[in-house]
Amino acid sequence: MSILVDGSTRVVVQGITGRAGSFHARACLDYGTRIVAGVTPGRGGQKLDDRVPIFDSVAEAKQLTGCNASLIFVPASGAVDAMLETAASGIELIVCITEGIPILDMVRARRSLEGTSTRLIGPNCPGVITPGQCKIGIMPGYIHKPGPVGIVSRSGTLTYEAVWQLSQTGIGQSSCVGIGGDPVHGLGLREVIEMFDRDPATEAILVIGEIGGCEEQEAAVFWETSSRKPTAVFLAGVTAPPGRRMGHAGAVITGTSGTVAAKIEAFQAVGIPIILSPADIGKGMAKALAAAVT
C-alpha cells in the first residue's frame, strides 16, 4: 500500500519531447514506472525510444492507453493549459514539475480544478514516489527504499537529503510527496498528512516544511484531534531574513506566521517533535519511531 501512486498507476508525460520531459520519462521508465503515453501537440503518432506512443492531446492518450496520472514538463507559459487539459480529460492525478508559473495563473488553475475529481501535486516540485513501485517525478529513484515512513515536503534536494539519511539509517519510505515550493499549489501539507494517516502501509510521518505561508500551522492542527502515527518535523529557514524570497517563490516571510519560530510553536503545541538540525533528520525520525514503539 501507499498513497497516490503504486505499481498499477498508468502515466502520461505531457511535454515528453522536451529536454527535461524525455530525460525524466526515461528515468521513470528505468525505475519501473508504467509510462504508457506521452503528449506533445503536433507530434502525435511518433514514439519515444520506440516504446512510448506520443499523442496530440491528453484526451486521445487517455482513450487509447487508459492512463490515469499525468506528469507535466510543459514550460511555465503553457503549464496551466496542460493542467486544465488533463483535468478536462478526467485524469485524476496531475504531478506538475514546471517551475516559474505566475501566481495568478495558479490562482485560476486551482479555482478551475475545484469541483473536479483531479488532484494536483506541484507545480515546482520533485513529484511523488512510492519506492519500488512507481516514481512520477524527477527525484533520484535509487536513494529510496520501501518502508514505513511517509514523507511530505515543500522542498526538493532537502527531501533527497532526508530520504538519504532515512535509507542510510535503514528506514524505508511508504511514499514521498513533494508538494512544491510555490505559494499557490495543489495538495497541501495537511491533505497529504491525512492521506498518510489513512494509509495502512504508513506507520510514521516525516514533515519537511520551510518559511513562508502557514501550511505548517494548518497541518499541525490536524494532530489536535486525529493522527496518532509517530511524526517528526524539520523546518528550513530559521536564519532566513524577512521579506526576501529564498529561491522558492513561496519561501518568503511576510508577517509573523511565515517564520520558522511560529511554525515550530504550532507543532510543539500539539506535541510533535521538531528536528532542529538538518543533519539529524535520519536520527530524529528513528527516535520518533522508537518512542512510538515503547
Binding site: 515543500r154 533527497y160 537529503e161 499557490v184 505561508g213 501550511e215 528550513a236 531574513p241
Partner: protein, 395 residues
C-alpha cells in the same frame, strides 16, 4: 520584485490612481526644479530606498528623517542635498542602512484622513484579498495586533472577478460614505485592475489620504511584482535594473543564479532552495553565519559553478566558502570536476569546504582528493558545517 516608490507612482498613475504631482530627482538642483514646476507648496522630499520606516529613519550623517516636508523650492534643494548620496537607516534596513541615490519631490496635500488599502494573494484561500482599514498611515501589522476588527477583507473569486459593489462594501467598512463612497470604490477597483493586469504580488497604498474632504490621494505605495510573471510585462521587468541595490545580487541576477545577500562570513553554494536554507541554518547552529543564500539550481553547469564562486569570492565579508551539493539528477563526480575546475581557475583566497552527497558521491570525493587543491571535504552534514565554521575562524 519590489520597486521604488517613484516607479510605483508611475505605474499606478497609468491606472488612473490619484497620485500627487511630482517627480524624481538625482541631484539637489533637479529636486529644486521639480518643486518650482509644481503649483505651490508645501512639498515633500522622500528618500528612495526599498525599505519602509523612512519617516522615522536616520541618516548615518546624523540627519533625521527620510521623508521631509518643505515650504519652498530652496528648502527642497537643501534637503535633497543632504539626502542624496547619504545612507539611510530605518527599522527595516538593518544597521548598515541603504544608500539614497534618488529623491522623490511631490506636492504635499492637506490630509484630512489617512486610510489603508492593499491587495495581495491569500495563500491559504488561494485567491486575491483586498484589505482596507480606516487606520492608515501607521504600521498595519501593529493595527492587526491591537485592533484586528479594524482591518477589513474582501476575498475575490478569480472566476467571478472583483466588482464595484465589493469595492463599495469595503469602502463602507472603511468608514467612507456620502460623496466619498463612489470615488473610494473607484480607487479600489483601479488598484485591483492594476494588481491583476500587472501581475503584482503586493499593492499597498498606505496612507491612502482623503484630501479636502472630497477626494483621494496615494501618499505612499509599496508595490511588488511576481517574478514569474515578468516575462509578460517587459516594461515592468525593465524596472529591475534600477531596483537591485546589492551589487552581489546584480551579478547573480545576470548569471541566472538565485542569490540573496546576507551579513555573515561564510559564502554558501548549494543546489536547491530548501537545502540552501537548511545549510544556512546548520552553519548558524555551529556559531557561523551565512554571507548569502545561493541556490545554483538542479541543473547547474560548470559555467554557473564558476560564476557562483566568483560572486562569493568578490564579497569581502566572505572568510570561507561552503559548497553543499546533494547529487540527485546531478552526479557528484561531474560536480566535483566542476568544483576543481572552478577552484583552479578562480584561486580562492579563503578555505573551501565541500560536502557532496547522493549519486556517485564517492567518485566525487575521490576527484576532489586527487586534485592538488586545498579543498576540505566531509561526508556528514554536521561535520561539514563544523569544518566550514572553523575554516572561517582561521582567517
Amino acid at each position: 520584485m519590489n520597486v521604488f516608490e517613484y516607479q510605483a507612482r508611475d505605474l499606478l498613475g497609468q491606472y488612473g490612481l490619484p497620485i500627487p504631482v511630482g517627480g524624481v530627482a538625482t541631484s539637489p538642483e533637479e529636486a529644486r526644479h521639480i518643486a518650482e514646476r509644481l503649483a505651490k507648496g508645501p512639498f515633500v522630499v522622500k528618500a528612495q530606498i526599498l525599505a519602509g520606516g523612512r519617516g522615522k529613519g536616520r541618516f548615518l550623517s546624523g540627519f533625521s528623517g527620510g521623508v521631509r516636508l518643505c515650504s519652498h523650492p530652496a528648502e527642497v534643494e537643501e534637503i535633497a542635498r543632504v539626502m542624496l548620496g547619504g545612507v539611510l537607516v530605518t527599522m527595516q534596513t538593518g544597521p548598515e542602512g541603504r544608500s539614497v541615490n534618488k529623491v522623490l519631490v511631490a506636492e504635499a496635500p492637506q490630509i484630512s484622513r489617512e486610510l489603508y488599502l492593499a491587495i495581495l494573494i491569500d495563500r491559504g484561500r488561494r485567491c486575491p484579498v483586498v484589505i482596507g482599514s480606516a487606520q492608515g498611515g501607521v504600521d498595519i501589522e501593529e493595527v492587526a495586533r491591537k485592533d484586528p476588527e479594524a482591518i477589513h477583507r474582501i476575498w475575490v473569486d478569480p472566476q467571478v472577478g472583483f466588482w464595484p459593489y465589493q469595492a463599495r462594501e469595503l469602502a463602507m467598512r472603511m468608514g467612507l460614505h456620502g460623496p466619498l463612497l463612489n470615488p473610494a470604490a473607484d480607487v479600489i477597483v483601479r488598484l485591483y485592475r492594476f494588481f491583476c493586469e500587472c501581475d503584482a504580488s503586493l499593492s499597498e497604498v498606505n496612507p491612502l489620504a482623503v484630501i479636502e474632504n472630497e477626494k483621494f490621494a496615494v501618499i505612499d505605495a509599496k508595490i511588488g511584482f511576481d517574478e514569474n510573471a515578468l516575462f509578460r510585462h517587459p516594461e515592468i521587468a525593465a524596472c529591475r535594473n534600477e531596483v537591485v541595490e546589492d551589487a552581489r545580487e546584480a551579478e547573480a541576477l545576470k548569471a541566472g543564479l538565485n542569490y540573496v545577500g546576507l551579513s555573515g562570513e561564510i559564502g554558501c553554494m548549494v543546489n536547491g532552495a530548501g537545502l540552501a536554507m537548511a545549510t544556512m541554518d546548520i552553519l548558524h547552529r555551529y556559531g557561523g553565519e551565512p554571507a548569502n543564500f545561493l541556490d545554483v539550481g538542479g541543473g547547474a553547469d560548470q559555467n554557473q559553478v564558476t560564476k557562483a564562486f566568483a560572486i562569493l569570492m568578490a564579497d569581502p565579508k566572505v572568510r570561507a566558502i561552503f559548497v553543499h551539493i546533494f547529487g540527485g539528477i546531478m552526479q557528484c563526480d561531474v560536480i566535483a570536476r566542476g568544483i576543481v575546475e572552478a577552484v583552479s581557475h578562480t584561486k580562492p583566497k579563503v578555505p573551501v569546504v565541500v560536502r557532496l552527497q547522493g549519486t556517485n558521491f564517492e567518485e566525487g570525493k575521490a576527484i576532489l582528493h586527487q586534485s592538488d587543491l586545498l579543498i576540505r571535504t566531509a561526508d556528514d552534514l554536521a561535520e561539514a558545517a563544523q569544518k566550514a565554521v572553523a575554516a572561517a575562524r582561521e582567517t
